[in-house]
Point group: C2
Chain length 304, copies 2
């Protein structure tokens, strides 16, 4: 059940109330891939890094079931760098620095043996680059899931709308959903966005959980696990998407009922991500850790 993940691999500089990291592994494809790698034994990754990207990071990705054949290494370039600072409540952050570096001229070349992928996850990227991925595929994947952000709504809304039309599932946070739909009410915003293309919509609400909107007006809600130690929310949304895609590709079942279970796994994986800086919390999990936490999450909403 081949899964292809396209997104960024980056260095992140992070400041949270719990500490500072100058430059650690980050990027949407990193978190998505590491999370999905707990569900399937092979995640195909397409991204780009510079000559400054250490082999140890590539080894880590490989160890987490990620195939790095599609990871372009531009020897003379530098890896994409993002720096952000979280506010005390951890629900908002300021971007302190963005250095696109090798991302600026990124052309996502899909290796031939990735081209017949059944599940495609387009991590947050310039919409035009996401489109370039679709153009190279041999067949339309069984399921295309796309993540995006408000930056592209401000900068390239036309491209974004073009892309949204082509995908099955859009994942987006609540503020971005309101902005994209120009509608404050989240249920109305969801309906409006579904009319723009994606038959399924996932609205991520961070510590407040996530909503899954189906084709027939069905709504499912997965809570986030209340955690005592939230250290760094970076990558939580991508880890969430990785858990969702990982579960769907593993089970090869894209029914709404199975997507609900995917959302529970998504929230489970995100809970590990926020407990440490960067993707550290995704490095050494075992299946029993994931199952234990999934049960904890299930118990949280079980009243029978």
């Amino acid at each position: 059940m081949s899964l292809l993940v396209v997104g960024t691999v980056a260095f992140d500089g992070l400041e949270t109330p719990f500490g500072v990291r100058e430059s650690i592994l980050g990027g949407s494809a990193t978190y998505i891939g590491m999370s999905a790698g707990y569900f399937v034994d092979h995640v195909n990754l397409v991204s780009v890094v510079g000559g400054d990207f250490p082999d140890a990071n590539i080894d880590l990705l490989k160890k987490k079931n990620i195939d790095t054949e599609g990871l372009q290494i531009i020897e003379e370039g530098k890896t994409f760098f993002w720096k952000g600072k979280y506010h005390t409540d951890m629900n908002s952050r300021d971007t302190l620095d963005t250095q696109l570096n090798v991302l600026e001229s990124f052309d996502p070349i899909i290796p031939d043996n990735y081209k017949d992928c059944k599940y495609l996850m387009l991590g947050n990227l310039v919409p035009a680059i996401q489109l370039r991925v679709l153009e190279q595929l041999e067949n339309r994947p069984k399921l295309i899931v796309m993540d995006t952000m408000n930056l592209w709504m401000d900068a390239t809304m036309d491209d974004l709308k073009k892309m949204i039309k082509l995908v099955d599932v859009l994942t987006i946070n609540d503020e971005e959903a309101r902005q994209l739909a120009e509608e404050n009410n989240l249920v109305k915003a969801a309906e409006k966005i579904q009319r723009m293309g994606p038959s399924i919509l996932i609205i991520k609400k961070g510590e407040h959980g996530a909503l899954l909107f189906g084709k027939e007006g069905e709504i499912f809600f997965a809570p986030a696990l209340p955690l005592k130690n939230v250290i760094d929310p970076t990558g939580a949304g991508d880890t969430f998407a990785g858990g969702f895609m990982g579960h769907l590709s593993k089970t090869d079942d894209i029914s709404f009922d199975n997507m609900k279970k995917g959302l529970i796994y998504a929230s489970t994986m995100a809970s590990f991500c926020v407990e440490t800086f960067g993707p550290e919390g995704l490095e050494n999990l075992e299946n029993k850790d994931i199952e234990l936490r999934r049960k904890e999450l299930t118990k949280l909403i079980d009243f029978n």
Copy 2:
């Protein structure tokens, strides 16, 4: 299973993005009582109003199973008035006017036939007045639930802490929980508040649902129903508390498992409240409306 509700009965002036109401029925005891009245056929109410309070409102309360023997009418006084304006996202509001009027000298006199109540709900009020209620009861109720707000944390923290020690369940919103515990992390804040007295804590998160913290560290979460038409959030927290107390007194079961079910009914009742101005949405419900919506809420988190 006698239920006693003490709180405010008020006139509210409301401005939301959906309209303006100059002066309509409001107050914590009003919402709590009207909500609980769908579960038990007798809600004993203690509060105060002025001579300007119309008989039609008293008739409405009576129609909703509320006994108004404990509603003091100060003929020469004016009813408590609050005016607020909600921001576009409806999650925050500004207080535009507060006229305490008869509330300023309110002494909650508990009628003799209310004094052996089994379930006591102390709606939001000055903590010293809440304490006066406890002093008059013949026996300690089986369950004391108390609601409060940040105003009393700023103004009379010592009194508030004294009161909190005496109750079984405290209901409070997330920001208030953080303020009361002086702790940003909600799970840690909950533990700290539980050590201050109440063995059970309910943290209300508005449109993001509510968390129930048990004696043994158990946590249960009830989502809020995603609604297309949110017109006025005033009273939603009180309506929530009324549903919770209504279910508990009806079933006369204060186990944690039954409190979970109570939280689902609480959220169900709150969903009706926000769809209209003031307590309008609580005026003409039928049991089948409540059951239908409770099922909708249950379905929202059902993935089996």
